[in-house]
């Protein structure tokens, strides 16, 4: 019966996994922080500034003045005589201006969010390459080593960079390589240096230590 290749423990390498957990959480925190700050300044900051008491006062004064400009340029006894119509015109102007301001805020926010989104994408992209390189680099080196090993080169040793992942594996593989190198080197020395009649026995003894599929 075939057993399922199911993992029993998810934390197989706590150090490595917690390390990456930290990287991911930090990245998401930065993205969320920047996004929230951007939203605040993009939307709420503009809204608060635009509708602050001082700005509202300025806007209302400007509405009144622009309406007065209109009246002065195109004087009409009907509209200048009735304060209610004048108030209506100013309110209408103010309302139009507020619509413009909201549109401006939305446009500005969209612009900011798009810029921010593009910057975050670049940041996440660069971070992903940086992080995956810490794993992909060692895997690539191991691949190269295995190819050399298959060709019979036992003199090679792996040397990973300081912050690369899988530095434990580096040590174990190098130990394995050193052991294989020593065994084969010993057999070569026996074959080269010992008399023929004793060399065969010695080689058999050495080979018997190595387990293969033909055993």
């Amino acid at each position: 019966m075939k057993t399922k290749n199911r993992r029993k423990h998810f934390l197989v390498d706590k150090s490595l996994q917690f390390h990456y957990l930290l990287y991911i959480v930090a990245t998401l925190a930065i993205v969320a922080g920047v996004g929230m700050t951007g939203s605040y300044f993009g939307i709420w900051g503009s809204v608060v500034k635009t509708f602050s008491e001082e700005s509202l006062h300025e806007t209302m004064v400007t509405a009144a003045q622009i309406n007065e400009y209109e009246q002065a340029r195109r004087p009409s006894p009907k509209t200048t005589a009735l304060p209610s119509i004048r108030t209506y015109q100013e309110t209408s102007l103010l309302s139009e201006r507020q619509k413009e301001l909201i549109r401006e805020i939305m446009d500005e926010t969209n612009q900011k969010m798009l810029t921010l989104g593009a910057l975050l994408l670049i940041f996440i992209g660069w971070g992903s390459i940086f992080l995956t390189h810490k794993i992909a680099g060692p895997i690539f080196k191991f691949g190269q080593y295995f190819q050399e090993l298959a060709k019979g080169n036992l003199a090679l040793r792996i040397k990973l960079r300081k912050f690369d992942e899988a530095r434990n594996l580096e040590l174990r593989f190098n130990e394995m390589a050193a052991a294989l190198d020593a065994t084969v080197a010993k057999m070569k020395r026996i074959a080269r240096e010992m008399p023929r009649e004793t060399a065969l026995d010695e080689l058999k003894k050495e080979l018997s230590k190595i387990k293969t599929t033909s055993d």
Binding site: S55, E58, T59, V61, T62, A63, A64, Q65, I66, E68, Y69, Q71, A72, R73, R74, P75, L93, E96, R97, E100, E104
Partner: protein, 422 residues
Amino acid sequence: MIHRAQVAFIAFLFLLTNSFPIYAQETFSLANEDRVLLKKIEKDSFQYFLIHTDPETGLTKDSSRSGAPASIAATGFALASFAIASQNGWLSYREAYQKIERTFDTLERKAANEKGFFYHFLDPKTGKRIWNSEASSIDTALLIAGALLAASYFKGTPLENRARKLYERVDWNWMRNGTLLFCHGWKPEHGFLPYYWDMYAEHLILQALALGSETHPVPKEMWREWKRDIDSYNGNEIVYSYTGSLFTYQYSHAFIDFRNLNDQGIDYFNNSKKATITNQEFCALHQNEYQTYQKNIWGLSACLGPDGYKAYGAEPGIGLHDGTIASYAAIGSIVFTPVESMSVIRTLYERYGQQLYGDLGFKDAFNLDRNWWAREYLGIDQGIIVMMLENFLNEGAVWKHFMKLLMIQRWIERAELTNKTV
């Protein structure tokens, strides 16, 4: 095509214009201390455009009040003022050039417009249309006139070509809305405004630029279409504007030298002179009602007042007044009435300078009856001060530049204006 005889006539006009100091007609001799004061007022008023023009877009704020939008008319006056400042040494040639260039960049690429007509109010930072404003015919004309004038001070530079292109892209014909009058403006939401320039007012500069256009020519009948209503005040017959505001007799005259032009028997320079004198007489007649009006204090024109901005004016016209005097009114008429205007300027400066005169020259207006003093400066009011004082102090310097423009020569020809001395 301009014929040889017309070129000769125009050349003759220039000769006349350039031969006499403008106040020679008045046998007016300007005292040295008055000259110094006027120069100071011109320079201080110019500072408005330095301070209230956005350094990035080159758009000028409508007023010195915080939160004011940019106004394209004020921007036109700013362009003219930068050129004048360069001529007077208040800005170096390079500084003035760069400021004008920056404004041109915005007008060419960013400033909201419809068929070349710019919206009256723009966001000073972005050039976008704000306050639901209209694409304005008269404000565009003042802007384009300012651009053409400014460029004419920088002969042989790319500014000339760029100003011409801004002018050429204005579709003057469209603004007629199928009539023989210019509409006040157009809004994307409602189309053309229901108001037309149908009688004498500040729109002569709009007429001049449109009639001089080769890219978007308008029928020459347009010049005769608007009414020249005449009314009499104290024996003075005046082609009057509806409001009777002094600015309506000044704006076009800041650019165009009407001294030697005759339009079907009308001398608009003399008309403005009569309107100014009438304004003075109207104030004198109401001295008992308003203590603001005094012997040397007059000047009813559109300005801020204790109850907001109003088109104050004298008769003939509706003659709305409440004792508010516009500081720029008498200054803007100095080319018409040098003696009377100078008396007002000196009185205002010496008697009320404390409350009325600031770092940027005279504040907009005041009303002694209501003990009200404007705290603001308005861009267009500062502009008319700078331009008229430049014409007055430097022998029609602005006129000399503007009258040489080809489009203005074409307008003179198409409107069939004649030399008034002929």
